[in-house]
Symmetry: C2
Subunit: 254 residues, 2 copies
């Protein structure tokens, strides 16, 4: 999709064996995708990688150079399998250090004597990182350069992201409009391709759905300029009617 | 995790702008992760990538050399945004050709005259690919070398995967046992790390959970040998009791 103005891009790294084993279903990607889009940032890739230091370090170094923003989730708790902070430090070639503000936050949070060595790990960040406040369980995330390091627990990840979101610098926001109908994709394909050819500045996606006794397709038009999107959506509605279908605005899933 | 016997690995590529835009939440990864684990194949990475030819080709070529199996989902329908089959052909440096069996399957499926040019695209596969039968909507997936190309619609993806699963050659199946308790992760961390050190052949994960008026942690022990897993889980239960907690078997989410 060609766009007016520079595109601001992001990559999400979901760090955690539990997602790859199928034990836990990721709940963070869709939230981040939506939140980034609202901030005018295009999520261009996401990776789910295991709790393996070499993989985390190599992946972080690959994607932080390729995308404007990188967001990681998972692996910043107090247990032995929480290795993300150390890996980020290694990726940047800096030391993992105790952040005095993070230590103070945890000291104030735990009852006297409960801030043990393990919990104090959560106050360690790569040298030069700034803290990302955690309004729920206090142990902060952190940012180093363009890499934002968030926890994996969805409630906490969301709270931290919502606090930092307003400071992200995005480009033009991607707008979209959807039209659904009960026709098959194959009936629409030719005309739809022709509309896409006439609107190279837009991205037109075709998504079939199947439900009990019901199937059809949702056509999604995405782009920067509202007038163009409306014009393309109108052409899609005309196409659907010409093929004997009945277009409905919005997502079929709604 | 060190394991008895060779590990068989897999990577999943989820191809689709709709996942990266946040419009659609992926439902395929958790299914494939579980199904591969049952087949003794370890899902070691997953990527969500856009409907962009250069990205798809480069990613397929990177991961097909790095993992034993690659499974892609999405982009094999009849519309202009379905570019996966062509990209797989390009990645392997072969032509996209009409597969006569696929053409026959579609001819038998559609009413006379309905098998238009767009639908016939779904009978095109990279030269040398074999078909993966689709018991629902007929348009087949395909396999080329170690790359399995599946549709994105979850119901159809699952049906195709369930048909091919029995032909996958896996290694030793990863077994797991879970113990949950209402203690904080930070209280358990030291003892848990010591248990991990005594069981280097196992992978011990610590996953906090937060619910209304309820929080705690689930500890998951994974590995190949059941006796070792049981022994580690017993040590974890002893640790929990020593810290004043009450271990419960199984996942807290259950």
């Amino acid at each position: 999709m060609s766009a007016a103005g520079p595109q601001v891009t992001a990559c999400v790294l979901i760090i955690g064996n539990e997602i790859l084993s199928g034990r836990v279903r990721d709940e963070n990607l869709a939230f981040l995708a939506t939140g980034l889009n609202e901030a005018g940032i295009r999520l261009r890739q996401a990776r789910v990688i295991p709790d393996d230091a070499a993989t985390i370090i190599a992946t972080v170094n690959e994607v932080r150079r390729q995308f404007d923003y990188v967001f990681t989730t998972g692996g910043i708790g107090p247990t032995h399998d929480d290795i993300t902070a150390q890996c980020i430090a290694d990726a940047f070639g800096v030391k993992l250090v105790l952040h005095p503000d993070a230590a103070r936050i945890l000291e104030a949070h735990y009852p006297p004597g409960a801030l043990n060595q393990a919990r104090l790990r959560m106050a360690h960040v790569p040298e030069g990182a700034s803290l990302l406040p955690n309004p729920i369980s206090r142990a902060p995330g952190f940012r180093l350069d363009n890499v934002y390091v968030l926890p994996g627990v969805p409630q906490i990840m969301r709270a931290i992201f919502n606090e930092l979101k307003h400071r992200l610098v995005g480009g033009a926001k991607v707008l979209s409009r959807s039209v659904s109908c009960a026709l098959g994709e194959g009936a629409l394909a030719k005309g739809l391709g022709e509309i896409q050819d006439r609107f190279p500045d837009l991205e037109i996606g075709s998504y079939p759905y199947f439900r009990r006794n019901d199937f059809g397709v949702t056509l999604v038009v995405r782009g920067i300029e509202r007038e163009r999107i409306v014009a393309a959506a109108d052409e899609i509605k005309t196409l659907i009617r010409a093929l004997g279908g009945e277009p409905t605005e919005g997502l079929a899933e709604d």
